[in-house]
Amino acid sequence: MALLRVEKMSHEFGGLRAVNNYSLEIEKGQIRGLIGPNGAGKTTIFNLITGIYKPTEGEIYLEGKKITGLPPNQIASHGLGRTFQNMQLWRHMSVLEHVKMARYSRITYGLFGAFFGTAKRQREEEEIEEMAYSLLKMVGIAHLAGQIILNLPYGAQRRVEIARALATEPKVLFLDEPTAGMNPEELIQMMEIVRKVHKNLGLAIFLIEHRLKVVMELCEIIQTLNFGQVIAEGTPEEIQNDPKVIDAYLGKGTVI
């Protein structure tokens, strides 16, 4: 059984079909890619699966459990962690607080603990903090833990997003263009991090990317999207040689 299964999902924005009949199956530990030209509906698919939008048609199952239509926070606590294309970080919070925040749904000390600072809360907050540090170490920014997010360089902010998403203990990690706006050096580091996270935590990863180099190197299976519809699905080699992909994605007559 697939870890995450999307069945014939469609979505309409005021009569406009942004996503049409989209299906997906991700196995445990798999890295999948989603590519396509601007406006093809890639981020919409992310938002649909993670519950920010509700699909007009279709069902989504995580580990066989239906999660269609649940609010985003519940979907996230069921095991879908994500990052955002334009980095939606909390501008007044520190790096460590970002990662700790993603543990919200696992907190058990409750409001009583929050108001009166019980010993249980103390213990739990310490545990969360320890975990947050280990995640920050994994993405290589443990030394920045106390910094306010605004003071961080761009690359580090991207890493915070990944650490934050990991703190939700996802079974599938959704990365929305993790290398957008990065220079070649940062790009290589980011790919390193994705590989490391994949290896250390054994996650399934679903990746939107603009740069073909990244998807081709990281992903086992790639879907190509155009006008909200999957036009090709296959291994990097297959995708690279698919004429439909070349047409849609690179324009007619281009050769990779």
Binding site: N73, L89, S105, G113
Partner: protein, 442 residues
């Protein structure tokens, strides 16, 4: 010319630096002790000193009233303040900084709670002795403490959560009336509510219950706003809460049972200084606990990016409603205290003017900050009292001040600063700090 100017700047800088280094090792304990000495000094020699300086009485609120009324009195008032407050506090604080640091370090070997309680006790002693000089000081102090509760609770919504709520006076009114009705019915022979049901001796013990009832009633009121306004995010809370405030005020005006527009009086005298002080400390403690926990930080996450908060498993709706009810509860408690301090309330008190006042305190002091709320509540209520002799010009000076603050520090004086009690009670010199390291991490 320029050179000279530079030299002067240099000198003032070095003086500043020296002054800072002179006092940098004074722990909070030392300052509190210094203040204690100062207020004791005032108690015993204040009157004599005031007389010999030609002042009619000891300056009540740091002499601002006297200085404004009669500018000729400025030198002697300043001299008085210097000899009674500035000099003793700085000298004592400096002199005992060594032992004070050692004591502070020793205290941290015990559970931190003990150290905190000792500090709070000292603070109370200072305030008590200071306020003993006159009933006016007591009243001002009580109202100031209540203002701190109000400011802090509104800061939870407007600062930590980043919404714009206008209904605080409404919550305060609900709390004030609920608590008043409770105590008046139970403990006072009143023409509105008939004979007292319980002996008056029980009243002080039941007063916390009255306040909590006030808080809960206010929180229920908040639920009326929270349910419609937190489905979507936007500015609608601002007017829904404003409409709510009008509704509460109008409702009370129409309730003849509680006196209608004439108000409700004869509350028993239960809000003594220690009571108000304890409730203020409780409010600061609980609020600070809340906003520093990950659950409380969720407020900031909702404020800064709600979509991201949601995607990171934060139940944003619950978070918002909790914070709103929390704030309303404390506003209700503050209202209950307010009613029992003045022993009279009328619906007119809880109108637009109160709203402007509370908003001003929150934004003056600083958003997202417990320190800020304390600073805002204390300074604006003290300033409001101190500038009273200016009459209406007070209402030009205070708004101007606030506008300047907004222009130069748009989020308020001490915004986004964490109130870390552990750090606050720590010894301030290196050696003692190291000894108590670890103990103060809480």
């Amino acid at each position: 010319m320029n050179e000279e100017y530079g030299k002067i700047i240099g000198i003032t800088h070095s003086i500043k630096r020296k002054a800072r280094s002179l006092f940098s090792e004074v722990p909070l304990l030392g300052w509190l002790f210094g203040m204690l000495i100062a207020v004791i000094l005032e108690r015993y020699v204040g009157e004599a000193l005031a007389e010999s300086l030609g002042l009619s009485k000891i300056p009540m609120l740091f002499g601002v009233v006297m200085m404004l009324k009669n500018p000729l009195m400025i030198p002697s008032t300043v001299l008085y303040l210097f000899t009674i407050f500035v000099l003793p506090i700085s000298v004592v604080a400096r002199l005992i900084s060594g032992p004070a640091n050692r004591v502070a370090a020793k205290l941290l070997d015990l559970p931190i709670l003990i150290s905190v309680i000792i500090h709070i006790g000292l603070l109370y002693a200072v305030l008590y002795l200071w306020s003993e000089a006159s009933a006016y000081r007591v009243l001002t102090l009580k109202l100031t403490l209540i203002a701190v509760i109000l400011t802090l609770s509104l800061n939870v919504v407007n600062g930590y959560m980043g919404e714009f709520s206008c209904s605080h006076p409404g919550f305060m009114a609900l709390g004030a009336y609920a608590a008043s009705v409770f105590t008046v019915v139970l403990f006072v022979d009143d023409k509105l509510f008939g004979h007292a049901l319980l002996p008056a001796a029980l009243a002080p013990f039941m007063f916390p219950i009255a306040l909590i009832i006030g808080g809960i009633v206010a929180a229920f009121g908040a639920l009326v706003i929270a349910i419609p306004s937190f489905r979507t995010r936007g500015d609608y809370l601002a007017i829904i809460s404003l409409a709510f405030m009008f509704i509460v005020k109008s409702m009370i005006e129409n309730l003849e049972v509680v006196g209608g527009p004439r108000g409700l009086s004869s509350q028993p005298d239960l809000a003594s200084l220690p009571t108000v002080f304890i409730w203020t400390v409780a409010c600061i403690w609980v609020t600070n606990n809340f906003v520093r926990s990950t659950m409380g930080k969720a407020l900031n996450a909702v404020r800064d990016d709600e979509v991201a908060a949601n995607a990171m498993t934060v139940n944003t709706r619950r978070t918002k409603i909790t914070a709103f009810l929390f704030a309303a509860f404390w506003a209700g408690v503050a209202g209950g205290l307010f009613a029992h301090v003045l022993r009279y309330v009328n619906p007119g008190t809880f109108g637009l003017q109160k709203l402007a006042e509370v908003l001003a305190m929150v934004y003056f002091g600083g958003l997202n900050s417990v320190y800020g709320s304390i600073v805002g509540g204390v300074s604006l209520s003290m300033l409001g009292e101190a500038l009273r002799p200016l009459e209406i010009f007070k209402w030009i000076i205070i708004p101007l001040l606030l506008i300047l603050i907004m222009i130069y520090r748009p989020t308020g004086l001490v915004a986004f600063k964490e109130f870390n009690v552990g750090k606050l009670v720590m010894p301030k010199n290196k050696s003692d700090q190291r000894k108590s390291d670890g103990a103060a991490s809480g």
